[in-house]
């Protein structure tokens, strides 16, 4: 399966955060790159969604639904900040 980008998980992110997050800014905890969530690499081929930094490919976020419970791991992010306008 091809790499997608953060636009593809806008609906999932809204389920988690209850607001629009594709234009939020994330700072990578591995390489400090700052980028909109929409520009991150997203892999949907496995059992959940895996989000990686486009600069260093470091793991930023993982979302997996297990028996109806959505498990969220944001451990690879240094910060995640909503866009002021959204």
């Amino acid at each position: 399966m091809d790499t997608l980008d953060g636009n593809a998980i806008g609906g999932l992110l809204r389920e988690v955060f209850a607001v629009e997050m594709t234009d939020a800014t994330g700072v990578c905890g591995h390489c400090n790159n700052e980028a909109p969530v929409a520009e991150c690499e997203v892999y949907l081929g496995g059992p959940g969604a895996v989000v990686r930094c486009r600069t260093c490919q470091g793991l930023l976020m993982v979302f997996v639904r297990v028996r109806g419970v959505l498990c969220v791991d944001l451990g690879g992010l240094q910060t995640l900040e909503r866009a002021p306008s959204s």
Binding site: D5, A8, G10, E20, T22, D23, A38, S85
Partner: protein, 233 residues
């Protein structure tokens, strides 16, 4: 959500007009998630760009993928007054605002033209003064989505087609895949301050975005949306 009309765009592509209860209105470039549930409870969910302009009822344009789980149903089986679940509108990054007067450069590959068409319709309906140029890569003329609508666009919009696999005998337009050289010929020079939106298969989007940055476009002025190997949105 109920389907109110079905329009064939190409042999593989259909537009579905939707009526959604309490639709909050959408922005140009946003998408919806479509969720289908099988009788055994199995669910499949896919994202589809909204094809209509803000202020118009929501519509999605779907390309059939032969091995798809959702698109064969949406392109072959769905009938007017059928219902399925949609979530949205979604997206705040790949969105064009009509208040922007910067030149608008749209580059689409295949069904990646769908959100770009929403932007062009929004531009026309909002009396925007932004110049606009669409570079649209298709396999063949028969695969061009919204062809008659795009050919009739005027009033500050240029539309440039490239047909990469098959061309009509009289074709005098581009026949190459979009690369830096083609962008150099079609895109405004970087100093014009254009805002670019690029949508299509992942490899297409990456080639176009790299090309625009190589021509001097600031990365933050090149907004991208990838939908995978082929088809999708």
């Amino acid at each position: 959500m109920v389907v109110t009309a079905v329009t064939d765009e190409t042999p593989r592509v259909r537009t579905l007009q939707l009526a959604v209860d309490d639709w909050p209105g959408h922005r140009a470039g946003q998408h919806v998630d479509v969720r289908l549930t099988a009788e055994d409870g199995y669910q499949a969910e896919r994202a589809y760009s909204i094809a209509s302009a803000p202020g118009e009822p929501p519509a999605i344009t779907v390309e059939r993928l032969d091995d798809g789980e959702v698109s064969p149903y949406l392109t072959e089986e769905v009938r007017t007054s059928d219902r399925f679940e949609v979530r949205g509108p979604i997206g705040g990054y790949f969105v064009w605002r009509s208040e922007s007067s910067d030149p608008l450069l749209l580059v689409g590959g295949g069904s990646g033209v769908v959100p770009l068409r929403a932007m062009l319709r929004h531009r026309a309906r909002s009396a925007s003064t932004a110049r606009a140029r669409l570079l649209y890569s298709s396999r063949s003329l028969a695969d061009v989505i919204y062809r008659s609508e795009l050919e009739q666009l005027a009033n500050g919009v240029d539309v440039v087609f490239t047909l990469t696999r098959e061309q009509p005998p009289s074709w005098s337009g581009y026949t190459r895949r979009v690369d830096t050289e083609l962008l150099r010929e079609v895109a405004w020079p970087a100093e014009h301050g254009a805002l670019a939106y690029v949508c299509g298969p992942t490899s297409f989007v990456e080639a176009v975005a790299e090309g625009l940055v190589a021509l001097g476009y600031p990365p933050a002025r090149v907004k991208t949306e990838r939908f995978g190997a082929t088809g999708g949105r």
